[in-house]
Amino acid sequence: MNAIGWKRWLPGTRSGVIAAPYLWLLLFFAVPFVIILMISFARTQVGSPPYTWLLEYVDGAFSLKLHLGNYAALIQDSQYALAYLSSIKIAVIATLFTLLIGYPMAYVISRMSPAARNVAMMLVVLPSWTSFLIRVYAWIGILDRNGLLNQLLLKIGVIDAPLQILYTPTAAYIGIVYCYLPFMVLPLYANLVKLDNRLLEAAYDLGARPWQAFLKITLPLSRGGIIAGCMLVMIPAVGEFVIPEMLGGPDTLMIGRVLWGEFFNNRDWPTASAVAIVMLALLLVPILLFNRVQQRELEGRLT
């Protein structure tokens, strides 16, 4: 609303409306990050909680003990670096494929009549309303050595022996693209559907071929949607756990699995925290980029 608005609320109501979600998110979203930051500088110990406190009260004074060993371990053990790089590689490549499949779909749908568009978008979103877990699980049956894909390929004679797709990185790629496709199509569609068709008509009128008009007009104008879609896929994909765990094999290195392993298998909270902090640091720039685009979207492009 405009300037008159907020001063007129009962001071209690307005503050309350701001405070409730603000405090919730501060406490349950922001504060945990501070805690894992602290834990990443702590040592493991047996018991609960399985880490030492940073503050020590010795001789009447507080002192802060920062244990850098966890980070040192990350740097020294090449497995971690490999996992980070592998995660980023997988996420980026999967995002690319998702974009290559999702953009044409979003484009075609945005050109349909309003009634058909709504049906089509509902069909795109519907799979993501069924369980994510179930959908990943579905691919196990398809990609297995005795699975349906191999059966099909053998039957039509394209291959002689069954392909080993399941439990390889390839399966993880397929899984990520499959599960995240709707998240790419949605923002692309939202952007493309707002594109004024008359701009294209003007371009054709001035002599541009359809593909030229697409490259020079449609593509640049859909940049916001592309960025939003890519961020929505890439950032969570870097930290993916379920897909590489169920579809990928031992050589599908992803940092999400590392974190899970450090916590559930090794009970090593400090190392897990360090892993998480470094992951956050890597993702900070994309997250800020997404944040900027999304905030403008949320506010309706007010400053």
Binding site: R8, L25, R111, A272
Partner: protein, 281 residues
């Protein structure tokens, strides 16, 4: 084929392939849930025995009940908090800390779930000593899920709030309604469909989550996805096929019903507008 016809044919085939990609795995799953054989990839006859075994599996049914409870309360809380946040973002002018608020709202949308789950777990453990604070159990899962889904509700409701004609709210104030009354008597009824959509989305996200729940759940609070995940880590489990089919059917039924209702009310609306035009002004 002319340029236009060719590109249209291309467009339809792209769309067709895309939808096939999206739906084929689910359809195959559903078909094989009726497979008599335990090997889910070899068809050996039609049977509903896996549905029977599913109905008798105590553990799965318990987990389902917990998941439904958590999802329901998550959706309710997330809708209330998310709508508040949406109002703040779209209607309130600058206040100290607004940029941070915006960041807190958008970050959960892309945060990897392992980080969300792990960090929240550490908080819950650290606060475990405080009396009255939910220990690791259903309560902690609820807290985690609300934190996850709040932002999604905000996105949906903000989008609707932006489209809302501001002059409706101004007119209500002009006629004597205070800000609070305007919200409850005018804004809320009009954005209600967006709230329903947000509620459903939060419900779905909560029902489906396995990673976060695994981190924050307690010993007696196993959710359905956790159970399913534990079962299928080792491979195919035919019972799960049956469960999957039932879930897909349930979701589809709700979705089709929702689409049908909106389509019918839209048609009625069009008819009303036609009727109005035919009257003499």
């Amino acid at each position: 084929m002319s340029m236009v016809r060719r590109s249209r044919w291309l467009g339809w085939s792209v769309l067709g392939l895309g939808f096939a990609f999206l739906y084929l795995p689910i359809l195959l799953l559903m078909i094989y849930s009726f497979n008599a054989s335990k090997l889910a990839t070899v068809w050996s006859g039609f049977s509903t025995r896996w549905y029977g075994e599913l109905m008798n599996d105590r553990q799965i049914l318990d987990a389902l009940w917990i998941s439904l409870k958590v999802a329901f309360w998550t959706a309710c809380a997330a809708t209330v908090l998310g709508t508040m946040a949406a109002m703040v973002v779209t209607r309130f002018k600058r206040f100290p800390g607004k940029t941070l608020f915006g960041a807190l709202i958008t970050a959960p949308l892309v945060m990897p779930e392992v980080i969300l789950g792990f960090s929240l777990m550490t908080l819950l453990v650290a606060m475990g000593g405080i009396p009255g604070f939910p220990s690791r159990g259903v309560g902690s899962i609820w807290i985690a899920h609300v934190t996850l889904t709040l932002s999604f509700v905000t996105v949906i409701v903000s989008s609707r709030l932006q489209e809302l004609d501001r002059s409706l709210e101004e007119a209500a104030m002009d006629l004597g309604a205070s800000r609070l009354k305007v919200f409850f008597q005018i804004t809320l009824p009009i954005i209600a469909p967006a709230l329903v959509a947000g509620w459903l989305l939060a419900f779905t996200l909560s029902l489906d989550d396995v990673v976060i729940a695994s981190f924050v759940a307690g010993p007696n609070s196993t959710t359905l996805p956790m159970k399913v995940f534990a079962s299928v880590r080792m491979g195919i489990k035919p019972e799960i096929n049956a469960l999957a089919t039932l879930m897909v059917l349930a979701v589809s039924a709700v979705a089709v019903l929702g689409w049908f209702i909106t389509a019918r009310s839209e048609k009625r609306r069009q008819r009303d507008m036609q009727m109005a035009l035919q009257d003499n002004g």
